[in-house]
């Protein structure tokens, strides 16, 4: 395997993207809790090596101060830099919501385009490790509901690399959601930039379209493979970018299949599936052979106990059952 297509995990892919972006542009900075090598290069090692290679002026290990982390990133970006700020776990963004939604997302508009906030906020989440109600929530809908911030969520190392390079180069704030369960799966990485706002047809099919992101794509691809043995042809669309989402690709697929299932790990109620289903209904109603289905987590905090946690988030069996119901 050549260097260009070596196998990498998501952790290695993001690490490579950060190294290469910092190498390519001295304005790229990294900050967050424990991101420096003296603190083990991040809680999962995503930032390993950066402080040693690029120095502690550009790679700042911070106090546990989420408001100040995002504020420092915003200020540095308004001052001409491109900071990549890490919020260790997605639930911790709650502590920095003012900085993210009132400031990072709005400064360009409120200043009439005089300032912009080219920051990346890396964060990680995902149920399945019994971390309970404050360490594994998917909160993407909050940010997708906020004008001025982009939201991306890769499901594999190839997209993790490509979206990180695109996010760092983007002139606007990007929330980059990493998924814990998919961190360690190796996959060939070609190191192509993945444009923000473009979904990927992860599997072509003709009977039903499954739309999702992150771990749900891994689940959907497994289910699609299984159902193919029975002659049910499933098209899987990996959104990759949650906001602004790729309507064209999604709507073209649903026009073709006439059936759609939107699945996400976040709570179903008021989740992004509601927006996507509504737009499908508005735009391709005439082509639908069945009502759009949605799958999402139960309307509850993430539970601790393993069987409860498994019941909380959509599992491959739930996706399979929903697809069968759609094509029945």
């Amino acid at each position: 395997m050549t260097e260009a297509t070596q196998k990498m995990t998501v952790i290695e892919a993001i690490n490579a993207a950060l190294h290469e972006a910092m190498e390519a542009d001295p304005k790229v900075l990294v900050l967050g809790e424990e991101v420096g090598d003296e603190q083990d290069g991040g809680v999962m090692g995503v930032t390993k090596g950066l402080s040693t290679k690029f120095g502690k002026d550009r790679v700042k290990s911070t106090p546990i101060s989420e408001q100040a982390i995002i504020g420092a990133a915003i200020g540095a970006s308004v001052g001409g830099y491109k900071p990549v700020a890490e919020i260790m776990l997605m639930n911790f963004v709650t502590v920095a919501m003012d900085m993210i939604t009132n400031h990072a997302a709005k400064l360009r508009f409120m200043s009439g385009g005089q300032t912009n906030v080219p920051i990346v906020i890396r964060t990680m989440t995902g149920a399945g490790f019994s971390t309970g109600g404050q360490h594994s929530d998917y909160l993407e809908a909050w940010f997708a509901h906020t004008a001025g911030i982009k939201v991306v969520a890769p499901s594999n190392p190839e997209d993790a690399y490509g979206l990180m390079r695109a996010a760092i180069d983007d002139p606007d704030p990007v929330l980059f959601i990493e998924n814990l369960p998919t961190y360690w799966t190796p996959h060939p990485v070609t190191k192509q930039v993945v444009p923000i706002g473009k979904a990927r047809v992860a599997r072509e099919g003709g009977d039903v379209t499954v739309i999702g992101h992150s771990l749900m794509i891994v689940h959907a691809l497994g289910v699609a493979e299984k159902l193919a043995q029975e002659g049910i042809s499933v098209e899987v669309i990996d959104l990759r970018t949650i906001s602004p989402w790729d309507r064209e690709t999604v709507l073209a697929s649903v026009r073709k299949t006439g059936r759609a299932l939107v699945v996400h790990e976040a709570v179903k109620q008021f989740g992004i599936g509601a927006e996507i289903a509504a737009v499908i209904n508005e735009e391709v109603w005439g082509a639908l052979k069945a009502p759009v289905k949605r799958l999402g987590a139960a309307f509850a905090p993430v539970p601790f106990s393993k069987p409860l946690e498994t019941a909380f988030v959509p599992q491959p069996a739930d996706i399979e059952a929903a697809i069968r119901a759609l094509v029945a």
């Binding site: 504020g71 990133a73 200020g75 001409g80 009132n102 400031h103 983007d170």
Partner: protein
């Protein structure tokens, strides 16, 4: 300690007066326009706080950054905010500095170093800290000033920002404009300690309380802090004691304000005091001071007329400046 401060020379004192007079006359004109129904906006008048930013700004260049808050027109004018764009913005016109999208609470003018005006109590500090980080990385000896009120000293962002700025030895000057009331809340309801500047010790930075209405003290404290920041010695907290004569939000009844305190503050209104001092010390004659005021009034006349004659922004502006690329 304050007696050892450097004093402004006559020319600097006159410059402080020029800035302060602009703030006062501009404020009076805004109120007149609002009362006549010609300007409709939430207005947080800085009347009474003119000396603070005027004495600070004579130590700053256009390259130096400032962040301020909803009561921030005085900070902006002192740093040289263009009057025409200011009035157009207040009127919500497309010729405003933010194309009418920001308004009085989000005034921005990067070419003069005015990077962020926030409507959220406390949020100027984390961003000013980030600008301080950018300034330090640039290595050009520029500084970053965070303006905020006494109420903001009780919000978590204060603690996170001062701690981070001290830890990273950033060139940030934290200026707490203590006008005695946090919205309608007196210190008796908001803190135990008398002096907010005492908190600086907890972050390992110098902290001073000065009479913000005294141009000598305010100039001296600002100069010492700014020189220290430029020299790479880190941040300072300045608590500048002052008073605002028009309450929190223009139009309120002000019942929460102690009548004796109000009367005392009015008797010590810094503007007539400074004006009389310039004349008494022969720094400027009555005629010269009057000419300065007349010139300011003429500039305001022009800015006001141009603002009123300008167009409102087109509805298409809703799609612009949300992101770099226009939203479809």
């Amino acid at each position: 300690m304050t007696s050892n401060y450097p004093k402004p020379d006559d020319a600097t004192l006159l410059e402080i007066f020029r800035k302060a007079a602009l703030i006062k006359l501009n404020d009076e004109r805004i109120i007149k326009q609002m009362m006549a129904g010609k300007l409709v906006m939430p207005y947080y008048s800085p009347r009474g706080q003119e000396i603070i930013p005027s004495a600070v700004s004579v130590n700053l260049d256009d390259d130096d950054y400032i962040c301020t808050i909803y009561r921030g027109i005085h900070d902006m004018l002192a740093k040289g905010f263009p009057l025409g764009e200011l009035w157009a913005e207040l009127a919500g016109k497309v010729t405003g500095t933010c194309k009418g999208k920001g308004g009085p609470m989000h005034l921005t003018c990067p070419e003069k170093g005015m990077m962020v005006t926030t409507g959220i109590v406390g949020s100027s500090m984390p961003i000013a800290t980030g600008l301080g980080w950018a300034a330090k990385l640039d290595g050009k000896k520029r500084v970053s000033v965070a303006n905020f009120g006494d109420g903001a000293a009780n919000i978590g962002a204060f603690h996170e920002s001062l701690n981070m700025a001290a830890l990273w030895k950033l060139p940030v000057i934290f200026i707490c404009q203590n006008n005695l009331y946090a919205e309608h809340t007196s210190p008796a309801y908001s803190r135990v300690i008398d002096r907010i500047s005492d908190r600086a010790a907890g972050y390992g930075m110098p902290g001073v309380t000065v009479n913000g209405n005294d141009p000598d003290e305010m100039y001296g404290a600002a100069k010492v802090a700014i020189d220290r920041a430029r020299a790479g010695e880190g941040p300072t907290l300045i608590e500048a004691m002052t008073f605002r004569f028009n309450g929190h939000l223009l139009g309120e009844a002000g019942h929460y304000m102690d009548k004796a305190i109000y009367a005392d503050a009015q008797a010590k209104d810094p503007m007539p005091i400074l004006r009389a001092r310039l004349i008494a010390q022969g720094i400027a004659s009555e005629a010269e001071v009057a000419a300065i005021e007349a010139d300011i009034d003429r500039q305001i006349d022009e800015a006001l007329a141009a603002a009123m004659a300008a167009d409102f922004p087109d509805a298409a502006e809703l799609k612009r400046d949300v992101f770099a690329e226009e939203i479809a």
